[in-house]
């Protein structure tokens, strides 16, 4: 009886020690990769956040809506800042244990300043962008085939340090929706903090062009204009375009889609790599 008890006790102790050693070995390996993974995640988010700050645009996705807050035109040379930021990351942020670089979709290193000045909403390939990083014009573009994903666009414009001269928004020409043609629900309001004017037209035929008359500011030669829909046969992708002249504005664009399955990113990849893991995603 004593012998049996000894045997059982020995077996249990042996089993306990083996299990303990096995768990500890796994834990040590996992801890290193956990620390590395967290480091990659933090680095990626920090670099991404810094870059978004330089473009001076904030984006937020909530359910069906993508909200983009923007300011036009750019007060600083965004292209130069992006170039300097890329250098700064190379020289001061990355270290021998972690590699941080900007790439294109083929994995080739790119200079951040050469990134195209637009955000792409995928998978619909609808773009929100500017004529250049100077941001003198804003455009929302997309192929006719993908326009069905957009339920509505709500654009709120605010004049900065200026007041609105107009008392209403007049469309000339105005093209209302027609049967069997792509139709956009578009809500436009323009404010200067004191006065707000709202478009009374809310449905637009995208196969034909509509545009507002110039919306002037009271102080001197400055105005903005909004175009909706196809405007030239050479450029059949225009949905909305804002043109500016000597005027600073901030905009809040809310694009409501008919699905939650979308995301928006810049056309450059940020790759953060260590020996254990990597995070390679579009900005």
């Amino acid at each position: 009886m004593k012998g049996i008890m000894y045997t059982v006790a020995t077996f249990l102790i042996f089993l306990g020690i083996t299990t303990y050693v096995y768990m500890n070995l796994n834990f040590s390996e996992n801890s290193s990769s956990l620390i590395s993974s967290e480091r990659i995640f933090r680095y990626w988010n920090a670099v991404d956040s810094g870059m978004q700050n330089l473009v001076n645009v904030s984006t937020a996705k909530k359910d069906f809506v993508l909200e983009i807050n923007d300011s036009l035109p750019a007060e600083r040379s965004v292209k130069t800042l992006l170039d300097r930021y890329g250098l700064f990351v190379e020289q001061f942020f990355k270290d021998p244990t972690i590699d941080v670089r900007f790439e294109d979709s083929s994995g080739n290193k790119v200079e951040l300043e050469n990134m195209e000045s637009k955000l792409t909403i995928k998978p619909m390939n609808i773009t929100y962008g500017w004529d250049s990083w100077g941001k003198n014009e804003m455009e929302i573009r997309g192929l006719t085939a993908n326009l069905g994903f957009i339920q509505s666009i709500n654009l709120s414009v605010r004049f900065v340090n200026n007041t609105i001269a107009n008392n209403s928004i007049i469309w000339s020409p105005y093209k209302d929706c027609r049967a069997n043609q792509p139709c956009l629900n578009f809500y436009l309001s323009v404010s200067d903090g004191t006065k707000t004017i709202v478009s009374d037209k809310t449905t637009f035929d995208l196969s034909r062009g509509s545009k507002t008359e110039l919306i002037y500011c009271t102080a001197g030669d400055c105005w903005m204009r909004v175009r909706v829909g196809l405007w030239t046969a050479e450029d059949p992708q225009n949905i909305i375009k804002i043109e500016l002249h000597n005027l600073n504005i901030t905009t809040s664009t809310r694009i409501k889609m008919n699905t939650t399955e979308f995301f928006a990113n810049y056309p450059a990849i940020l790759a953060v790599r260590t020996a254990f893991a990597e995070k390679v995603e579009f900005l």
Binding site: T10, S31, V55, F88, F92
Partner: protein, 162 residues
């Protein structure tokens, strides 16, 4: 006569040289169960002592997480950007206040370097420490940028157990 013969036969058997040698020179090593249990207990005690390593790894994970969380929260709040253009003493006071928000068993060394975006040689350094460094130190850092002031910055935080 017969008895004598039998005796002789016995003697003959025991006088066979090889077997006789083995029986005289035999040795054995017997592992009793008591010894085996004792060895296992000794190994268990050794493992308990070496368990200190895994406890330290746990601490490392925890202090890394705390440091990363602090930097992330301060960054998202816009704290780092607000320091740009402030007086040195003001910034360092704020850094010390942030260090005092760490859990009671932790100390830290918080440093921020702000660079001019157009000339990296132009930089400002701010630093605060709230106790002497000791033991395992976790180091994390975060990059930030300011569009309107055209500045880039690195915030570094070292954290250790008191």
């Amino acid at each position: 006569m017969e008895i004598i013969k039998r005796k002789k036969g016995k003697e003959k058997f025991f006088s066979f040289p090889r077997v006789s040698f083995l029986l005289k020179k035999r040795k054995a090593f017997v592992i009793t169960l008591d010894v085996f249990v004792a060895v296992l207990i000794a190994i268990a005690m050794g493992l308990v002592i070496t368990n200190m390593l895994s406890l330290r790894m746990n601490d490392k994970l925890a202090s890394n997480a705390i440091a990363n969380d602090m930097l992330a929260v301060l960054h998202k709040k816009g704290e780092f950007n607000s320091y740009i253009g402030m007086q040195q003493q003001q910034v360092e006071t704020k850094l010390l206040e942030n260090l005092n928000l760490l859990p009671a068993q932790y100390c830290g060394n918080f440093s921020i370097t702000v660079y001019d975006a157009n000339d990296f040689s132009k930089r400002e350094n701010f630093q605060a420490v709230n106790c002497e460094k000791q033991g395992d130190i976790s180091r994390v850092k975060r990059i930030f940028s300011d569009y309107s002031k055209e500045k880039f910055g690195i915030a570094e935080l070292e954290v250790w157990l008191k």
